[in-house]
């Protein structure tokens, strides 16, 4: 791993100037490294952070990555990580013109990392440095605790997809968020009625006194605190109880686990904390893949096409670009989709089509020729880049115009029993279906929270807010064993499972031999019914109860 030479760095700096002129914004400093394939294989299990903590799963990944590379060698053009300064890795042996294109692409990523609001919590951290400190701490703990350190990492990682990314972001972006119970409301609704249980005439009297104070700009509460000195303290307590800090499972365990509270287990908290913050750091990347790649592809195309350094390499560029941004006949290329959608948004906005007037048009010809010559598309997509994530991006902007324009469709795959073939067919060209299909591919961990009321008597109670997708059953046991270990007591998980098993039975037998017993045709059509079940783990033994 070494820095690129001065010549290549010169190309990068030149690219930065032109990218800035086009409106991209990013820090001055960047680091570019040339890496070997071997380096890449060793870096990728560590999500490309060279200073990430050591863990045996990474070693397993490295070994299998090496095997994979032996069988199917492939090399990415670039990889960028969201550090300060941003670090990007390249394979050796790129010609200059290709480097120009790749650098524009990389600058697109860096601009995205440093301006998209979902990354806000990563802006003030130097990840490479933080990770190094964590790595040292983990190494020190491993030398003291041996393999128990690795178990704690393992169990913590078992929950690290349930981190409260949005809650955390909410705290930073809109400090607090939820509306607090006001002092006045507390006084009249709770204090007087429930705590003091004052008679009605006294209550009415207080209300009129309050209204009087409002008129005279007098301070209503001086008299209150004089009469009830305990009022402010009760109010503070009520606020705390009413709006408990929203904690994700990992935070909750760090804070309340009786097991971790023991002095000899204190060290585990820091390990869980490290795992949690590392996961949080990567959350925005997982939730903006389509946009991030689309944005980088959009800019490498736009900037490189306008760059004089392309001359003589137009055909080479076309070939490389097509291999990255082509829309496949069957299959989904999220990067190409992101780029096309950004271009589409820009054009729609340029013509003023994001307007009420346009939505009211029913005439297809008028709709097509509609043009307000607003030409605000460019700045509009910058706003999109700043405020959207993959879900909102696709959900808001993927429209029928886009689907029609690029001839997109949902491709179905079914068995043709006569020819013994898989048949690919056009299942739908409707935007709702296409959108749903794309949304189904997005990162979406299950919504599992602590149920504060049922968590008592040493039992940790997890509630899965069901979204018509069951949990992967095979993984439940080991995940819960891990949580039980860190909690130091039984763990309950409430979730939903299908009742009519026949429907998800993967066997196709009946399709081939209708005479065979098993699922009847009616059962195949009936929709899945769900029931609530509770998994209980106690002393590393898993039980299931129906609710």
């Amino acid at each position: 791993m070494e820095l690129v030479n001065q010549h290549v760095k010169g190309i990068m700096e030149e690219c930065k100037i032109r990218a800035r002129d086009a409106g991209l914004r990013f820090d001055d400093e960047t680091l570019e490294y040339i890496v070997t394939n071997r380096d890449l294989i060793e870096l990728s299990p560590k999500v490309m952070i060279p200073t990430l903590y050591d863990y045996w799963v990474h070693d397993v990944r490295v070994l299998s990555g090496k095997g994979m590379y032996e069988a199917y060698p492939s090399n990415p053009f670039e990889t960028v990580i969201n550090t300060r300064p941003a670090i990007s890795y390249y394979n050796d042996n790129n010609p200059d013109w290709l480097n120009v294109m790749i650098f524009y692409h990389v600058l697109g990523h860096i601009d995205f990392f440093q301006n998209n609001l979902f990354y806000k919590n990563t802006w003030d951290i130097d990840l490479a440095g933080q990770a190094l400190a964590d790595k040292r701490m983990i190494a020190r703990l491993r030398s003291e605790k041996g393999r128990w350190l690795d178990y704690v990492i393992e169990f913590a990682r078992g929950m690290d997809n349930l981190v409260g990314f949005h809650k955390d972001l909410n705290r930073t972006v809109s400090d607090g968020g939820r509306k607090k119970l006001s002092r006045t409301d507390f006084y009249f609704d709770v204090f007087l009625q429930k705590i003091r249980s004052v008679p009605q005439h006294q209550y009415v009297k207080e209300i009129s006194r309050y209204n009087q104070c409002q008129k005279d700009n007098g301070d209503f509460f001086t008299k209150v605190t004089g009469k009830y000195p305990e009022f402010d303290e009760l109010y503070r307590k009520e606020i705390e109880a009413k709006t408990p800090p929203q904690m994700d499972i990992m935070e909750y365990i760090i804070r309340y686990s009786p097991f971790l509270r023991r002095e000899e287990n204190e060290w585990m908290k820091s390990v869980i904390h490290i795992v949690r913050s590392t996961s949080l750091y990567f959350q925005p990347q997982m939730r903006t893949k389509t946009m991030n790649e689309g944005w980088a592809s959009y800019w490498h195309e736009k900037l490189f096409m306008a760059d004089d350094r392309i001359s003589g390499h137009e055909a080479d560029y076309a070939k490389v670009n097509a291999s990255v941004t082509a829309m496949p006949r069957v299959g989904l290329n999220p990067y190409a989709l992101g780029m096309r959608l950004l271009e589409h948004i820009q054009e729609m906005e340029d013509k003023g089509k994001y307007s009420f007037e346009y939505y009211l048009l029913n005439d297809a010809v008028q709709k097509k020729s509609y043009n307000q010559h607003k030409n605000t598309g460019q700045s509009f997509i910058f706003t999109v880049r700043e405020n959207m994530n993959d879900f909102t991006f696709i959900n808001s902007f993927l429209d029928q115009e886009f689907v029609d324009r690029h001839n997109l469709f949902v491709a179905g795959k079914r068995i043709n029993s006569q020819n013994m073939t898989w048949q690919y067919y056009i299942k739908s060209k409707k935007v709702q279906d296409y959108k749903q299909m794309v949304i189904n591919t997005l990162y979406h961990p299950p919504d599992i929270r602590i149920d504060g009321e049922k968590t008592k008597d040493g039992v940790l109670y997890l509630d899965h807010r069901f979204e018509n997708k069951p949990l992967k059953q095979d993984f439940i046991e080991n995940t819960m064993i891990g949580i039980e270990f860190l909690w130091g007591g039984p763990v309950h998980l409430e979730t939903s499972e299908p009742t009519n098993k026949a429907n998800i039975d993967p066997r196709y037998t009946n399709f081939w031999d209708p005479s065979a017993p098993g699922a009847s045709p009616e059962a195949a059509i009936s929709p899945i019914e769900w029931k609530r079940v509770r998994y209980v783990i106690k002393d590393r033994k898993l039980h299931k109860q129906e609710l």
């Binding site: 490295v62 095997g67 069988a71 393999r147 961990p445 599992i448 891990g482 081939w512």
Partner: protein, 390 residues
């Protein structure tokens, strides 16, 4: 960098601490033609978390998950087809066989990985009932022989065959009115009557042991079951490669409602299909091959079969008949049933009829049955191999 051995050693310690093992031996099979595929042994592990399972609602039977697409066409248009049973496209005749020194340099290191796994296994196992059969113990190889007959052109004229053909032609032309006085000068000789011998490539099997791998690849085999069966067969295969080096010949047979032979391990390992299940077809194909190629005389024959225990032939009449036949010549039949978790404690069809037929006790040194659950770990799989070849 940590080695595989060290990782496995660490993994073993988990059991002392009361946790399940996490590392499985995975394999990547690199395709190559003519049995030159390489198996690269790699460790794999899964980090369990609470994640969504992919169940698509309202999915019709026999329909796979939809994806995106681009291009012309109307809703409902079929845009392409892909065979469910991949064609065994490679012609036997292509290429020129295995000349010595051909690209051997780079391969050694990769194969050594498979050997490493084999080494672990070889400490415990040995092929059972191995008898001295056949005369030669060298490599299996290809020989060129003038065995094929060809009309019109060739290397050597087959005089006897040609004469017969000429007589045949002239009888039909009416040139031989009386068989007691044949006038050969009246014969008309067509160039098409000349029969030549031509040089052709023949497979020569000279190994002592021949192992048939049989695998159910029907629709019910999806997911873990196939993984487990394939895992076990990969280990067996790697072990054979290591232990018996080139003295063991392997053949690969896949079946759903019909059986087919595939040419190499990669195909055996990777093919998927979505059909029904008729177990007897695979055994029948083995019997046919053995009979047709008279393999029983020169080889110790081993048959390993992996299935989920599902069979349309519920009482196994046909299967048992084929197995009985097979028992007359094999050194060992090893049947692995990997039961789906939804089967529970019930017996699968195959297990039921094999158990009740009594062949397991009658021929207990020739046939072994091993039943395991779909989510077993590598230790259990290796244990299974021990059972099968004990």
């Amino acid at each position: 960098m940590i080695t595989l051995d060290e990782l496995l050693e660490k993994d073993k310690k988990r059991e002392q601490d009361g946790f399940k093992r996490k590392i499985r031996i995975g394999r990547i099979v690199k395709p190559g033609s003519k049995g030159k595929e390489k198996i690269i042994v790699v460790p794999t592990t899964v980090e369990e978390k609470f994640v969504h399972d992919d169940i698509i609602e309202d999915q019709e039977q026999g329909e796979a998950e939809p994806t995106g697409g681009t291009g012309d066409g109307q809703e409902g248009d079929v845009i392409g087809e892909q065979p469910i049973r991949p064609e065994d496209g490679e012609g036997e005749g292509e290429g020129d066989g295995e000349g010595p020194g051909e690209g051997k340099g780079g391969e050694h290191e990769i194969e050594a990985n498979a050997y490493e796994l084999g080494k672990v296994l070889s400490q415990d196992f040995e092929l059972p009932n191995l008898k001295d059969k056949g005369k030669k113990k060298v490599l299996a190889r290809y020989v060129y022989d003038l065995t094929d007959k060809n009309k019109g052109v060739g290397q050597v004229l087959d005089k006897k065959a040609t004469l017969k053909k000429i007589v045949e032609t002239n009888i039909s032309l009416g040139n031989i009115p009386d068989v007691s006085t044949i006038d050969t000068t009246r014969f008309i000789v067509s160039p098409r009557d000349l029969i030549y011998r031509i040089l052709s490539r023949e497979k020569e099997y000279e190994s002592q042991a021949l192992v048939f791998f049989l695998r159910d690849y029907s629709g019910s085999m999806g997911g873990k079951v196939t993984q487990t069966v394939v895992s076990q067969h990969v280990m067996l295969y790697s072990w054979l490669v290591y232990q018996y080096e080139k003295q063991v010949e392997t053949r690969f047979i896949l079946h759903d409602t019909e059986a087919r032979e595939v040419s190499d391990f990669h195909k055996y390992y990777s093919y998927k299909v979505a059909g029904g299940t008729k177990v007897f077809t695979a055994f029948k194909l083995v019997n046919d091959i053995v009979e047709k190629e008279s393999l029983a005389r020169d080889y110790n024959i081993y048959v390993f079969h992996g299935t989920d225990g599902d069979d349309w032939d519920k009482d196994g009449k046909q299967t048992l008949a084929e197995i009985e036949k097979m028992l007359t010549y094999t050194a060992r039949i090893g049947i692995t049933i990997v039961a789906h978790s939804y089967v529970g404690s019930k017996q699968t069809e195959v297990e039921k009829y094999i158990q009740s037929s009594g062949i397991l006790t009658k021929h207990n040194h020739l046939i072994k049955l091993d039943v395991m659950a779909e989510n077993v770990d590598d230790t259990r799989i290796i244990q299974g191999i021990k059972t099968l070849i004990s």
